[in-house]
């Protein structure tokens, strides 16, 4: 009971608080928050929004899992942002330049993406293990470099080609596509959304049912205790960072193999940072993350309706930012509150025990 309250109360508080804050912002800017919220909810039933939300949830879910693996052992992989971008470019170039039978082609692209993501994460991991470089700083720098490398790789004299106003990598042949589930007017569900679900199950099994998962969580709870228990800290850092990078590499796969079939200038950025927020919201738990990803996707896609009622849709970004900040504050406040009540309880019991003696 207490545990459930400790886990569910803070996110609920945070969402209510941010909704109130954004409502206040809307009132101050002369809009009607109820009408805006109504428009967002109605939007879910419109056209392909519902399917878009599911697709987007899958993508956010993968990104958040990548972050969560690092978080489990207090490792901040801020670099998911760069890892998924590099993986997307490399995989798109690879997929567009080889000819393989159907099935094997898409599998090869997915593997290349995972390897590229892991390779990009390997640099900060190796720097941390061998030189003690803080992973936050190095992954931030790697994010910047990833932007540059991606821009360079799609130059027309390197791998890119010009299509209309857009520069893109060569299109992946149809043998490499992963077909979606067409739902008529409601859009098409990405086939690789199921990859997200599989990853979530795999993540849960790894964390709770394998030795590696146990050692990972132990390192996060107390690095010194884990080391005393025979856990090789350096190996854990290296493996978890590579795993995190490999999963990050898969983030863009649903879109690239399911819809775009190429990496182009309109490639969506910022998913890695959203992943950080979602992992925090979901407390690294696979179900919690799923809920967070769904919330994020709902805010993103339904927010498009806000323009129709005269509200700038950027209010949604503010809401997301407020949710992250308030959820971590709420977790901390609830934790302190429970600590204090625990102390009072123990104090009472000791006093009554002392009185009896």
């Amino acid at each position: 009971m207490g545990k459930l309250r400790g886990n569910l109360l803070p996110p609920a508080l945070a969402i209510v608080f941010s909704a109130l804050l954004c409502g206040l912002a809307l009132v101050l800017s002369g809009a009607n928050p109820l009408k805006a919220f109504g428009a967002m909810v109605n939007q879910v039933g419109e056209g392909s929004t519902a399917v878009d939300i599911i697709n987007s949830t899958g993508i956010y879910y993968i990104a958040a899992l990548a972050v969560a693996i690092g978080f489990q052992m207090n490792l901040f992989n801020i670099g998911v942002e760069g890892q998924y971008r590099i993986a997307a470019v490399v995989a798109a170039i690879f997929g567009g330049s080889v000819a393989l039978p159907p099935g094997i082609h898409s599998l090869a692209i997915i593997i290349v993406a995972a390897v590229a993501g892991a390779a990009w994460a390997a640099i900060p991991a190796i720097l941390k293990v061998t030189r003690g470089v803080n992973e936050v700083i190095s992954t931030i720098m790697m994010n910047g470099i990833a932007l540059g490398v991606a821009a360079y790789l799609i130059r027309r004299d390197v791998f890119g080609e010009l299509r209309g106003n857009n520069i893109r990598t060569p299109e992946i042949a149809e043998s490499g596509w992963v077909p979606g589930i067409p739902l008529g007017d409601n859009g098409t569900l990405f086939g690789l959304v199921f990859l997200a679900i599989a990853l979530g199950v795999g993540y849960w099994v790894m964390m709770n049912r394998t030795r590696f998962g146990f050692e990972l969580r132990a390192s996060g709870e107390s690095a010194t205790a884990a080391a005393a228990g025979g856990v090789n800290a350096k190996k854990m850092i290296l493996v978890s960072m590579l795993l995190s990078g490999a999963i990050a590499g898969l983030v863009s796969m649903p879109e690239i193999l399911g819809r775009d079939h190429t990496y182009n200038l309109n490639f969506p950025g910022g998913i890695g940072f959203s992943g950080i927020a979602i992992a925090l919201l979901g407390r690294n738990h696979p179900a919690g993350i799923a809920f967070g990803a769904l919330l994020w996707a709902f805010l993103d896609k339904s927010g498009l309706a806000l323009d129709n009622v005269g509200v700038p849709r950027e209010i949604v970004t503010i809401m997301q930012g407020t949710i992250v900040l308030s959820v971590v504050v709420a977790y901390e406040v609830v934790r302190r509150f429970e600590l204090a009540s625990e102390q009072r309880r123990v104090g009472r019991e000791l006093a009554s025990a002392g009185g009896a003696a």
Binding site: G132, I140, M142, G144, I145, G148, G321, L325
Partner: protein, 415 residues
């Protein structure tokens, strides 16, 4: 006034026999010597031209200010990844006040907006003990969101573009007229060293805005406040050992709050420096382009010290300015300069009998020279990220020599 030529100041921290200013002067002299040798050998006078220097100064200012912001926060033990978000708030604040009431209002408003971001970071990290990185990431998200929302709300009706502000009036700029004319003639004579020095000086003395002067004065000011006053000592003690500081009667929370708010204000001024740059019309969405992070990089490059930070900002701004003024092939000449620098370092290491370091230096020099020899130009897509690569290299090579505040990033709770 040696904004662009102090990169070497960060490195020689070894002997401790020389006072800081002397090391700085030596660094400046060394950097000028290096640049003029390179420009002579590669035949690229643009390396030390006044135009390049002037652009470099303008591009270095936001990085410098963001870096100073990072310095204040981290010296008090609060890691500030949110600099980028605070800087974005600063750009918006500067544009909003600037297009209505002029550049001085822009400056003040940018400070206030940045400081608001800092206040938020302080509330989250100091009062609520939230992880510093998490709070920083959230502030970056929030900064981008809030400014986009406010731009659509307030700029769109005036500028008819939700991503852009109306044009913002700039500061008047000043030049030391008589002096710069004389320097111009000297620069055009193309004499070795002399013309290079003249070019750099002329770039530094031409088109100086009050903002430039304020930004550069903030470096010694930060040094004096943080290292030479009682308040600064207390502030830094919060970053080294907050428990000891508290036991000696320092109010750690208050000092951290002040430091983080100041940090936000400085990042905000950095944003103003972008908006008030004569080359820019005003606020543009995505204008900061990760400069908050580069500021952080400059601070790390400078080993959490103001002088080194100035050197880092100058180096990064210079690489950027060179790229902007004269394109990728000139930046390639910098590789040549790096080879010369490495050569000097290798000789030093050989004299000190550090064989491993010398071998490493030689290998690096060979690789760089090969790059210089085989490439025609450095792709412009990559040059913008040179600061990131330099930071990674510095971290990888010198991480043992860097010394960050001991309790940096540690969540402190009053006992």
């Amino acid at each position: 006034m040696s904004v662009m030529t102090k990169p070497a100041a960060a490195t020689p921290k070894r002997g401790r026999k020389l006072p800081g200013w002397a090391i700085g002067m030596l660094g400046v002299a060394g950097a000028i010597a290096l640049l003029s040798t390179t420009s002579y050998l590669t035949n690229f006078p643009q390396l030390t031209s006044s135009g390049t220097t002037q652009t470099a100064v303008r591009l270095a200012l936001p990085i410098l200010l963001a870096g100073l912001g990072g310095l204040w926060a981290e010296r008090a033990g609060v890691v500030n990844i949110g600099l980028e978000g605070m800087m974005i708030m600063g750009t918006w604040g500067a544009a909003w006040a600037g297009y209505q009431w002029g550049p001085w209002a822009a400056l003040v408003s940018a400070m206030v907006f940045g400081a608001l971001g800092g206040l938020l970071h302080a509330i989250a990290t100091v009062t609520f003990g939230v992880n510093h990185i998490v709070s920083g990431v959230a502030i970056n998200l929030l900064g981008a969101g809030v400014t986009k929302y406010l731009s659509t709300l307030l700029f769109f009706p005036v500028s008819h573009n939700p991503r852009e502000s109306p044009p913002v009036p700039k500061f008047d700029t000043y030049s030391a007229a008589g002096l710069t004319d004389w320097l111009a003639t000297l620069e055009n004579e193309q004499r070795v060293v002399l013309s290079d020095v003249a070019g750099i000086l002329r770039g530094l003395l031409t088109g100086v805005s009050p903002l430039t002067m304020i930004a550069i004065l903030l470096v010694p000011a930060s040094y004096l406040v943080l290292w030479k006053t009682r308040f600064g000592l207390r502030l830094r003690s919060c970053g080294e050992n907050p428990w000891a500081a508290e036991s000696l009667g320092v109010n750690v929370y208050v000092h951290k709050y002040i430091a983080v708010i100041a940090s936000g204000a400085l990042a905000g001024i950095g944003g103003a420096a972008l908006v008030l740059n004569p080359g820019q019309p005003g606020y543009l969405e995505g204008q900061t382009g990760g400069r908050g992070f580069i500021g952080l990089a400059a601070m790390i490059f400078g080993n959490w010290r103001p002088g080194g930070l100035l050197g880092g900002a100058a180096l990064f701004g210079y690489a950027d300015g060179l790229q902007l003024r004269s394109g990728g092939e000139t930046v390639l000449a910098l590789l040549y300069g790096a080879v010369i620098l490495l050569g000097v370092l290798v000789i030093l290491q050989l004299v000190r009998r550090k064989w491993f370091a010398a071998a490493f230096g030689i290998a690096a020099a060979v690789v760089l020279y090969f790059l210089y020899y085989s490439l025609d130009e450095i792709p412009s897509e990559l040059t913008s990220y040179a600061p990131h690569m330099v930071t990674l290299v510095v971290l990888a090579v010198a991480s043992q020599r860097l010394r960050m505040p001991a309790a940096d990033g540690v969540v402190y709770r009053r006992g």
